[in-house]
């Protein structure tokens, strides 16, 4: 089982781990994360030196390269504040993957310490801050994709709790929700055929329930599914959990 134990939240200040995907492609997701946290009165600090959590090399099998990046990340996120990240995948890298690849390293303790204060955004809002309902309004039928890195964590339940509480928002279930979208990091480029077939199945299930928007806590899944749909010439609208929460606030004129 994943070690998802976290230090309880005391202060109102967090460090934001924006993720390399948001840094490169999805700036609005990172911005929405800041806006959501600030709405709750949380001060968001962005350590400028941050790069990536190290997961690409970890998954690719190059643990030496990955540890180099993790060590940089540990240094960059020094301090005691919770680290909040709008990605179940990067969060799991910090509290599980990195710990695995450091099991025989002298600095395992520092890596574990960072893992214990790293939170996926939805998990942080619901289980860290105790937010159970979300204000504002978001008129849409939403298909929520449970990303694989949230297995064994509180993240999917947390996201569903928040989304389900937004006025105007209706969640629709789709078939085989427990199945992977086919992204899988380096898997997506070294097994392109299987990866794309898995994505096509997921898209079939999602389209069958005709949602207005597909929402997830991980942009990597959205990048894959959105990219496949666009390539097919049948694009789908994708949003990150943070964007839905931020837009709900905006629609309700709360920010």
């Amino acid at each position: 089982m994943l070690n998802t134990e976290r230090k309880p939240i005391t202060g109102k200040r967090v460090q934001l781990m924006a993720t390399c995907l948001c840094d490169a492609f999805y700036d609005d997701v990172a911005a929405a994360t800041v806006q959501v946290l600030e709405y709750l009165g949380v001060e968001v600090v962005f350590p400028e030196g941050q790069t990536c959590c190290g997961q690409p090399a970890f998954n690719g099998g190059d643990w030496t390269a990955s540890r180099k990046v993790v060590r940089h990340t540990v240094k960059t996120f020094a301090g005691e504040e919770p680290v909040v990240v709008p990605s179940g995948s990067c969060a799991a890298m910090m509290f599980h993957g990195a710990v695995l690849e450091f099991e025989n390293e002298a600095d395992l303790g520092e890596v574990e310490a960072l893992g214990r204060r790293t939170w996926e955004l939805g998990d942080f809002l619901v289980n860290g801050l105790g937010v159970k309902t979300w204000p504002g309004r978001f008129e849409a039928t939403v298909a929520f994709h449970r990303s694989c890195h949230s297995r064994g964590t509180n993240s999917s339940t947390a996201a569903a709790t928040l989304l389900g509480s937004v006025a105007g928002l209706k969640i629709v279930e789709f078939g085989e929700g427990e199945q992977c979208c086919g992204f899988g990091g380096t898997f997506s480029v070294s097994f392109p055929n299987i990866s794309a077939s898995m994505g096509a199945l997921k898209l079939d299930h999602i389209r069958a329930v005709k949602p207005d928007v597909l929402v997830s806590g991980d942009m990597s899944c959205m990048m894959h599914l959105g990219g496949l749909a666009k390539e097919e010439g049948k694009p789908i609208k994708t949003l990150h959990l943070a964007q839905v929460l931020r837009d709900a606030l905006k629609n309700g004129k709360l920010i």
Binding site: D27, Q35, A57, N59, G61, S66, E176, V189, N193, G227
Partner: protein
């Protein structure tokens, strides 16, 4: 561009085969989940307990193996130890020759697939007939099982009817009942003619020396009822400490493997027939097979030896569903096979080092495993081992340059800015192979490197933020 073998295999798979594998595994998974969660308040807790029991066994084999040997001997069983597949096969051959036996009927056992026992015996002039219906069909087809529990998941009934016709088992008829009746009729006579019955064992209790066999067709009972000699081939990891533990394992195995509360037949075998019993084997042998297991035990992936061969991880695995079992080139396919098969290669690990790559690491296998094996972690360890042994891995992006960039913030920020060039390049001119492979199937989103950092610096208070994303569609079209 070169792709991974398993990906290539999946791409070339016949649509019929893919559909059969997909449907069979999906149904198996859904029935399993319903049964477990309908009946038990907390099935995950049961999986964790079962995992701890098997882990305890794996870590204490040095205690349990002598204990089980003593119990078996006391029960009148002759115990053999086989370090290799060859030694296991030779032991079987030796027993048959000593009895002047030439005909064996076989129940389904994965360890005999590992050792290719049937082929070996045929080469030495013996008849070795598979009596499990799926294994029987695989045998008459000269095929290989593609699933641990459902050997012919990759076939449809039309293919089976055709091979029955080809093998003289009646004119073409694809009605499943007819197929089964014909196989049964053929096999009945074979049981009566056979000298030796071979089985595996799903569990062996160290407390009592009892062998436990679970089947659904009753074929293993026929194998033992009609022959005078019973040989069981058993992997050394099949031990459970106590008879009591079987309650947990039998419940989990049947539910996880075939979505049954219990299999149709559950046999407890304590030894050869006693003088007071009218029939049954008068001689019983247990061959404990290592065949690479102690090497697995010595590795950092020993958790995989907990496996009770239920096949639930195959059924749930999206990669297995797309690629089929034969894609794995191994006796054990799917997630468990992707860990076990390369490990069992010993020094030839590089030949199967691609198997652990065939996973999106989605974790569904870990979630369904009745003994809670952290399969994704083990796949990752093996990927790292492959890298350390410099095994080439087609399509896996090299990470050295990336790691350098990602540990130098200034260089990272510069590359965020410089990356914008990809918005204007056609696919074939994209500077990184991984990006080209991505675009072979998917559109890349617009590169907006550094935009978030800029926003953070320039916004005043909680400034609104409405990005307009340019599309890569134009550039990609220029390809």
């Amino acid at each position: 561009m070169r792709f991974q073998q398993i990906d290539q295999f999946a791409a070339e798979l016949k649509a019929d085969t893919r559909a059969a594998v997909y449907d069979g595994s999906k149904k198996g998974h859904e029935k399993r989940t319903k049964l477990l969660f309908d009946e038990y308040a907390d099935p995950d807790r049961l999986r964790r307990i079962a995992g701890e029991v098997k882990q305890h066994v794996v870590e204490n084999l040095d205690t349990y193996l002598p204990q089980v040997e003593a119990k078996l001997k006391a029960n009148g069983v002759i115990v053999h130890w086989a370090a290799t597949a060859e030694a296991a096969n030779q032991a079987v051959l030796g027993i048959m020759r000593a009895r002047g036996a030439t005909k064996m009927v076989k129940a389904k056992t994965m360890v005999s697939e590992e050792t290719e026992l049937a082929h070996f015996l045929e080469k030495h002039g013996m008849e070795a007939l598979e009596t499990d219906l799926g294994e029987f069909i695989v045998q008459i087809d000269g095929d290989h099982p593609s699933h641990i529990v459902k050997p012919i998941i990759h076939k449809n009934r039309r293919e089976i009817a055709t091979s029955f016709e080809k093998n003289g088992l009646g004119a073409y008829n694809d009605d499943p009942q007819t197929i089964t009746r014909r196989a049964r009729h053929f096999l009945r006579h074979k049981y009566l003619e056979a000298d030796v019955g071979l089985t595996g064992a799903n569990f062996v209790s160290a407390e009592s020396g009892r062998l436990v066999l679970v089947t659904n067709e009753g074929n293993s009972r026929f194998c033992l009822a009609a022959t005078k000699c019973h040989i069981a081939m058993v992997g050394i990891e099949k031990i459970v400490p106590r008879d009591y533990d079987l309650a947990l394992f039998l419940n989990l195995l049947a539910r996880s493997g075939t979505a049954q509360e219990l299999t149709v037949y559950t046999e407890f075998i304590s030894g050869p027939k006693s003088p007071t019993q009218p029939d049954g084997p008068e001689e019983m042998h247990v061959i404990f097979v290592d065949n690479g297991r102690t090497e697995v035990l010595a590795s950092d992936c020993r958790d995989i030896l907990r496996c009770i061969r239920c096949g639930a991880c195959l059924n749930v695995c999206p990669v297995y569903r797309q690629a089929s079992g034969h894609a794995y080139r191994s006796v054990y396919p799917g997630p468990v096979g992707a860990v076990l098969s390369p490990l069992m290669m010993g020094d030839k690990f590089p030949q199967k080092a691609d198997l652990p790559k065939a996973s999106s690491l989605c974790g569904a296998c870990h979630e369904v495993c009745p003994v809670n094996i952290p399969i994704p972690d083990l796949l990752l360890r093996l990927r790292n081992r492959a890298k350390e042994e410099n095994v080439p891995s087609p399509g896996t992006p090299p990470m050295g340059a990336w790691a350098l960039l990602a540990s130098q913030p200034t260089a990272w920020r510069a590359s965020l800015f410089g990356g914008k060039i990809i918005n204007y390049l056609p696919t074939k001119l994209l500077p990184i192979p991984a990006l080209r492979a991505w675009e072979a199937k998917r559109s890349l989103p617009a590169w907006r490197g550094g935009e978030f950092r800029k926003w953070l610096k320039t916004r005043k208070g909680r400034a609104d933020f409405s990005p307009t994303a340019p599309s890569r569609a134009e550039a990609k079209k220029a390809d």
